[in-house]
Amino acid sequence: MNGVHDMGGMHGLGPVTPDSRDEPFHDRWEGRVHALTLASPSRGNIDAGRHQRELIPGTDYLRMTYYEKWFDGLLAMLLKGDFISSAEARSGTADPAAPKATPHLLAAAVPTVQKRPYSYERDVSAVPQFAVGDRVRALNLNPTGHTRLPRYVRGRSGVIERQHGAHVLPDSNAHGLGEAPSFLYSVRFEARELWGSDASAVDSVRLDLWETYLERA
């Protein structure tokens, strides 16, 4: 979807404020939101979670802090998945008639789960359509659902730099439509192709793009 989250190349969003501090959470509630998001059964898949946060209305998205957005997304996913009711969300108290669940993630399992090597790569019978060095163009796609094809490369040409294997396709997975694995490539776009002749002649931006986003140029 063409939301404000897709902000690469925008101007006017303020100065960058470097900060060398490393604390992951600046308030206790931020850590709780992070942990709740990872521990809740609502998590579904990573793409659905990202899409949920993209659905935050643009004016709110730009105003909210990072973990406010996570909290909003978590609450929406819990409601959407019927893990909690809106009455429970309002009251903060469980419906006495609702059955008590068993947590799917127990404390003892956390260290293992956090470190478990997982892969988004899938075995497919298809063969990759592009090879390293091929010139490709990002398609001018404007889906209303989730996508990881930023607006700033749509219609632009680049070169395949690396092939990562077939990876789960967020455009499908975010909507519960299956993993639909597709070959993923690192594509190099020259800065001038993206931003015009005022850009540096030597700089580039590299994105990981699925085969379904690309055509031969």
């Binding site: 925008m10 404020t17 470097p18 956390v110 090597p117």
Partner: protein, 205 residues
């Protein structure tokens, strides 16, 4: 609105106004999920502990220091970063598919996620606020040199700047150039030289 103070002979908790302050709202949701048996509060503590104490830029610094001192390791890191980083036992969420990119005199790499906040958690921990914020996400792809200058990193025009936008589940770790004057240092001393921003690519060492 004034409180309705009629006699309570049963609970009216479900009629309470939702807490407006974010900390209270989070606390209320946590209590609800615990009450419903959906989350184990000790698991939440363990997750917070993991991000506060087990992952962070010190992990990535060890990878970089190893690459600086062990040419065979550096080679493995550049060829298959996921496996090379796993040799140091840094694995898991948001580090599933790692790629290491090396800075040199002619090339400078810098990493962003324009669409959200993707970041290599096992080696760098959770990202700083500026990395997740609109100004960095919007500008570093169109004006990388301007953004780097705001970090105090001014690059010659002829240095090639490569911006990596983490649009998929591949996560990037920048291997900074080893600073001059570190020739006699041990691997652990070298790791002390490596900063988080050096491994994002907004700083040089």
């Amino acid at each position: 609105m004034a409180h309705d103070h009629h006699d309570h002979d049963h609970h009216h908790d479900h009629e309470q106004e939702p807490p407006s302050d974010i900390a209270l709202r989070v606390k209320a949701l946590e209590s609800l999920l615990v009450e419903k048996g959906l989350v184990d509060p000790a698991a939440l503590d363990a997750i917070v502990d993991y991000y506060e104490h087990r992952v962070g830029p010190r992990n990535g610094a060890r990878v970089v220091a190893r690459a600086w001192t062990d040419p065979a390791y550096r080679q493995r890191l550049l060829q298959d970063a996921t496996a090379a980083i796993a040799e140091l036992d840094f694995t898991g969420r948001q580090g599933e598919h790692m790629v290491a990119v090396e800075n040199g005199p002619d090339v400078h790499n810098v990493v962003v996620c324009t669409l959200c906040s993707c970041y290599p958690w096992p080696v760098l921990g959770l990202p700083p606020v500026w990395y997740k914020s609109a100004p960095y996400r919007s500008r570093v792809v169109i004006d990388p040199r301007g953004v780097l200058a705001e970090f105090g990193t001014v690059l010659p025009d002829e240095t090639e700047v490569r911006v990596w936008d983490s649009t998929a589940e591949v996560r990037y770790l920048v291997i900074p150039e080893r600073p001059p004057g570190t020739e006699g240092m041990t691997e652990s001393e070298l790791a002390e030289q490596v900063t988080r921003d050096g491994m994002i690519g907004t700083a040089r060492l």
